[in-house]
């Protein structure tokens, strides 16, 4: 009788990126958008930082001049999508249920649901979360991170990675900076420490401060 040798251990090399599936879909989304001459811009930021209000303001300013649509990621509610729908532009609500970020797959599905022919700009509002969305490109041409002074003085230092992949940072609610005892200059300089050439725009959707500059920056993407 021949005894079986003990289990032997084998290794195999298996280079396989776990982020690749999403990246591939993001590239496809981007190609589809490019074919239609559409620029998509991804908005990231914490819950309550003012992403929806900023997008609504920009849609209001731009919709009579160019075709604008909004993709609205929200874990469970449609309140943000409803707010933007009042502007009479195409809105795609993406409920992620318990997901903490949008991914290229859901955005790709959304792109199939609207008529792309007349569009020039799509704003994609990501889930209110400063960590997860950074890992999942969607196919947008640029990423905007919105932080507000009401989130305290350390938002940039607490979430440095989120900023490294962004092109524009908005410091929002600057009308409340004094009450909050938060230095806007400090937040701006924190961002520049992470990425010296970042476009940083202090805004207030209440007073309108910075909105002209933000609009210009969006159109320059």
């Amino acid at each position: 009788m021949l005894e079986a040798s003990p289990d032997e251990i084998y290794d195999i090399e298996l280079e396989h990126s776990l982020l690749e599936a999403n990246e591939k879909l993001a590239v496809e989304n981007r190609a589809l958008l490019d074919r239609h001459g559409i620029t998509a811009i991804d908005f990231m930021g914490a819950i309550g930082s003012g992403k929806t209000t900023l997008i609504t303001k920009m849609v209001g300013r731009l919709k009579d001049r160019i075709g604008v649509a909004v993709f609205n990621g929200d874990a469970t509610t449609s309140s943000d999508a409803d707010a933007i729908s009042a502007q009479n532009v195409p809105v795609v609500q993406i409920a992620t249920i318990n997901g903490c970020h949008l991914d290229a797959n859901v955005v790709g599905k959304g792109l199939k649901r609207i008529a792309l022919e007349k569009l020039k700009l799509i704003f994609i509002e990501n889930i209110g979360n400063l960590i997860c969305p950074a890992e999942f490109p969607l196919g947008s041409k640029a990423r905007v991170v919105v932080v507000s002074v009401t989130e305290g003085p350390w938002m940039v230092r607490k979430h440095p990675h989120m900023f490294l992949g962004a092109e524009i940072v908005v410091i929002n609610k600057i009308d409340l900076a004094q009450v909050m005892e938060v230095s806007v200059e400090q937040l701006v300089s924190d961002v520049h420490k992470l990425k010296p050439n970042m476009k940083v725009i202090p805004t207030s959707t209440k007073t309108g401060a910075g909105l002209d500059e933000f609009e210009k920056a969006l159109l320059a993407i």
Partner: protein, 129 residues
């Protein structure tokens, strides 16, 4: 918690391997996770263990190798480790895109990945009698 999405993608891939190779039992999975990725190793390991119970992967070990960040500067042709920000809150130095050499903005070349490097498995020899 995006670690769960990433763990799910990983487990899907591994179960696919297990199904195609029923005689091979995976005992160890080696991952490479970049310093600039937003992936927390402990959470990833926790998610992995949680979703592999009652699968052929149950009991397998997840080994995670940290990959250092590297940057290149288009302005002064610096290549190497990024500049770290020591004064940020946590006490852990934070990698930045500021060029250590000229102060302008660099691009990251390494340290963003999350990839399966290799698998270790055992294969029972058939019993000959």
């Amino acid at each position: 918690m995006h670690e769960l999405s990433i763990a799910s993608g990983l487990v899907e891939k591994l179960l696919d391997f297990a199904e195609k190779n029923p005689a091979k039992k995976i005992v160890e999975v080696n991952l490479a996770v970049g310093e600039l990725s937003h992936i927390e190793s402990e959470q990833l390991r926790f998610c992995y263990e949680a979703i592999t119970t009652e699968t052929p992967l149950a009991g397998s070990r997840l080994e995670i190798e940290k990959i250092e960040a590297l940057v290149k500067c288009p302005h002064c042709s610096y290549r190497g480790r990024p500049k770290y920000w020591d004064g940020a809150l946590s006490g852990i130095p934070v990698a930045t895109l500021e060029c250590p050499s000229c102060g302008k903005t660099t691009e990251a070349t390494d340290g963003q990945e999350c990839a399966i490097r290799s698998l270790r498995f055992v294969e029972a020899d058939p019993v000959v009698s």
